[in-house]
Symmetry: D2
Subunit: 198 residues, 4 copies
Amino acid sequence: MDTDPVIAIEMYGRMMIALEKLESCREFAALIPEVRTNMAYALPNARTPGEVLAIDGRITVVKGMPRAAGRPCFGASGHMARLVLGIREAYPEIRTAIDFSNPPGFAPWLEEYCRQNGWAFAVLDRQAEPEVSRDAEGSSMSWRAREVIRAAGNRAPKVFCDAGAFGKEPVSVIVGTEPISTADELCGIARAFARRGT
Amino acid sequence: MDTDPVIAIEMYGRMMIALEKLESCREFAALIPEVRTNMAYALPNARTPGEVLAIDGRITVVKGMPRAAGRPCFGASGHMARLVLGIREAYPEIRTAIDFSNPPGFAPWLEEYCRQNGWAFAVLDRQAEPEVSRDAEGSSMSWRAREVIRAAGNRAPKVFCDAGAFGKEPVSVIVGTEPISTADELCGIARAFARRGT
Amino acid sequence: MDTDPVIAIEMYGRMMIALEKLESCREFAALIPEVRTNMAYALPNARTPGEVLAIDGRITVVKGMPRAAGRPCFGASGHMARLVLGIREAYPEIRTAIDFSNPPGFAPWLEEYCRQNGWAFAVLDRQAEPEVSRDAEGSSMSWRAREVIRAAGNRAPKVFCDAGAFGKEPVSVIVGTEPISTADELCGIARAFARRGT
Amino acid sequence: MDTDPVIAIEMYGRMMIALEKLESCREFAALIPEVRTNMAYALPNARTPGEVLAIDGRITVVKGMPRAAGRPCFGASGHMARLVLGIREAYPEIRTAIDFSNPPGFAPWLEEYCRQNGWAFAVLDRQAEPEVSRDAEGSSMSWRAREVIRAAGNRAPKVFCDAGAFGKEPVSVIVGTEPISTADELCGIARAFARRGT
């Protein structure tokens, strides 16, 4: 890797500390989707998924707790990497994204949670995606990134969810400038959702 | 667990040997779906997912190879466990099921592969699923099991795939009486698919 | 492996269930030696370490709990495998051995625990080992096996410890006919030792 | 942890990159001692093992390759942490130490390798350790650190080995200012030792 070593050191360090936070959060296990969670963290000038750090094998649930299947490595994510790359075209300060589940009834609760936190929230309609875009994986993600930005009112989105599509599980996504604070925010969502209505 | 210890010993032993086969098969990594693979193995008189052995955290891909996230344990699967339980209502000799991906263009190839091996093959139309069934996870799986049997021509199915549904990734499934031979059969599929057209 | 598949299935099954017991026993973490624990389980007619199942990478301590570094596989142990092979020359019913630590002051407590359980206990003096034996790893283990049997009063030993030697950590060993009951016995030792004097 | 977050990020990042280097080096597997390897990395002002980052569960060998049993965390090492703390009393720029094996005949080869690389090499005689020191783990490590410095000719040592002691496996140690370059140096030793005499 020709990555600047100082930047790589900081990125691996932030990913490990963020991962410890996610793995320690029991409530987050309930928000890991069927497709499992990944956490992507792009190099400052990333153009391709190979320049995005992510968790090899994604984050799954073992003995009831979130658990990374492998280690952070560059190129370990396709979907989430392309989503970050797409969002960064408009908002280059966004370098991290983490996906989580979107179970029935979750989106309205999440919207209210975001409103209380002053976070831009958007719902993405993947059914509106043009057929041609859906066919090519790369294009689809660019479309999703553009659509999220549009749905957020041409602001940098903070949290968004989609309702799924044919063959696609509905998921939610949170983005940020780096993974530690983003993992903290996601654990906050998970804990609040676990306590809802109590 | 009040399981007969002799049966539990045999089941854990067969799962570990089957898992070694899957984890050693590089070509199988290409057939692990977004929702990850699970391998379910039901007790002879299983009625609930708690009586079905499966891989905790499912089987994911790490460094390009299939890798179990956790260990086999009873109750580690919901979906695949219910599918086995549903099929066993009609064909109690079926105790194992493993899911794998169903990428575009895969089903016709898989049908021909099954024909050559003399295996009952079926395509499941999850869109035909009644609304009421889809709502309740348990009922849905019973519907899938019944529909697979019907689609296989009222025989025990060996391999089947579905085209997905709204919010649901299309997957393929192979079933068998125990996991070692079923894992061997699945690795055979993966190797043949990797060699196709060459 | 040309091993009889029925025997291999039973052996993997017993190892996994035994491993679950050790990994669930917090008190056992305190008895894992610097050299880490291994659990060996020999084929009925084993002659070489390749015919002995053991834990690849041994059992270490992670987050305060015992944790296997890898999976059971044949040939994963040298020391413990040879020890079992040596003991089996005289007592072929012995197929399993697990090592654990021997901290200062432990041996007298362990001897009393064994007396209460009616188990043959022995202390092995590795300093008495002939120089020629210590040089060759294989011979040394045969000497240890013979010496343990002699020290146990020409009975099958159940538990023994040594005081270490130059360059060798002192360890304790428990043996048995199969790993599940042996792991149960070792967890019993660990729990009783944790409660001692309270 | 009240650690400065910027320092913690850099330390976790360096540990992960160093760990990837060790885990990718097949030749290093042959130099992992019975007590397993640990890599310690002290905070700039560390006074206690809780302020030293190390690998939880140490680094063992799985499928013939070095593999960390757990993750880097503060407080995961006792021995290696105290050794670094002891050396830092005289040479505060030293923050990292990694131990590896010292098989028969290795020390003279290692001494020559160090001479060629211009590294201070020392042999530690643990038999010379005063009885009172050996009893208390903490004091022993301070004694070892002081003795290594003395044996290196009152310079900062780079590599040293000991011949073991009663109950103690002989080991070698390499130290450095941070783990990435130290892991590189250790992999260089492992590769050169694997090629020796060829």
